[in-house]
């Protein structure tokens, strides 16, 4: 009798993609300035001094930097899908990509409450500007993806020390200017309280694909 080696694999996993926009260093200062101008003209910014969220029509803005950003986000999403799905490039390109995006500006002591996006397949969060990590709060300004499995209901000496990607806990992504994180839109996420002096500037995009001839999708 011989025991073959144990094969361990992840199942029922959540795909997470992280990419960097190649021209982010040139793009981000321009975007920061543009977003500031737009926000200044938006009456909504007076409602909450700690957090400003623009309308979700960012991808319809005509400015060249926004067009470059939109292309970069879409390219990253296409790359992720190519890595985790069996759909062919041709099939994917035959689908219509629908997306809505908005700017979120978080100031000291601000946060973004937990949310997820119905009728949406993917969520992408691009970081335009991020403060350095705060000394007094480790999770300052992180994008926190919520754990939804029930594994923590019984913890013993072994499953309480599971390693990533199996560990039973929330997952935190620290925004880095120029980086983009992509995850399924069914995941609930939040931006944790920001304890830094500088602003955190994010662009959040929700995306879905419509197959040729596919009907029945309500506009967001």
């Amino acid at each position: 009798m011989n025991a073959a080696p144990l094969t361990v694999m992840p199942i029922l996993a959540t795909p997470l993609g992280i990419a960097t926009l190649a021209d982010a260093q040139q793009l981000n200062p321009v975007l920061t300035e543009l977003f500031a101008q737009r926000a200044a003209a938006d009456p909504a910014q007076a409602r909450n001094p700690l957090r400003y969220t623009s309308s979700d029509d960012l991808l319809e803005w005509p400015e060249t930097p926004v067009r470059r950003l939109a292309d970069g986000i879409a390219g990253a999403v296409y790359s992720l899908i190519g890595r985790v799905s069996d759909i062919t490039e041709a099939q994917l390109r035959s689908c219509k990509l629908e997306a809505r995006a908005w700017v979120t500006r978080v100031r000291t002591n601000g946060a973004v409450p937990a949310a997820h996006h119905p009728l949406t397949a993917w969520c992408a969060i691009y970081c335009v500007a991020a403060p350095a990590a705060a000394q007094d709060r480790a999770d300052s300004g992180v994008v926190r993806l919520y754990e939804s499995r029930l594994g923590s209901t019984f913890q013993d000496a072994t499953n309480s020390v599971l390693r990533i990607p199996f560990s039973a806990s929330h997952y935190a992504w620290r925004p880095v200017a120029g980086q983009l994180v992509i995850f399924p839109a069914s995941l609930t996420y939040e931006v944790a309280l920001l304890r830094a002096a500088e602003e955190l500037l994010l662009v959040t995009t929700r995306l879905r694909f419509i197959a040729p001839g596919q009907q029945g999708f309500a506009r967001w």
């Binding site: 361990v8 992840p10 029922l12 959540t14 470059r68 939804s148 013993d156």
Partner: protein
Amino acid sequence: MVGAITVRPLFATPFGEARLANCERLNRELEALFLGRETEEHRNPTPSHVPQAETFESRFNLFRWPENCVQELRNFMLNAVAQMVIETTSLKAQDIARLNFQNHTWFHISRYAGSFVAHNHPLASWSAVYCVRTGEAVAQHPDSGVLRFLDVRQGANAYLDPANATLQRAYALAPVELKLEAGQLVIFPSYVFHEVTPFYGSDIRITVATNCWFA
């Protein structure tokens, strides 16, 4: 404009699989032993689910039986569980050796139309299933006797479009289905709901299941 994308699994369920080579002799001995003890004396007196006439469930003390074939299987299964812990946690072999390794272990014998409703195992951390006899494959019932793990990501498939409907195996938005083969062992977290679909073979399907926890 986009640099290389890094893709990684998140919130994953660890799944282990091992095969016992040259298992025919052991499985024959186990089958003979189990069939001989498919009696009221050895039936689980306190089943957690409504018992079915088509599926016999033994008491949970199987690994205390002294028979050589049972102890041989015990070594294989529990060593594999310990290996699973080493592969997926920060613990080393010497750490596990210091722990109190507990188990409840039983066998199932299923006959025509026998199944087991979806369930998980409270107060256990790791579960494993070993296949002694897979039973007859039935062409018109390809899902006969399938071990099915239900998706732990509640609501993750609430919105399917052409791009996320065909995610690869690790990420697929669907239950994981296995047609166990003789000598095959699978290990998974005990909180994962799983079921055995109705078995439509004309013979029998035999499995051994264990729930483990450490203190």
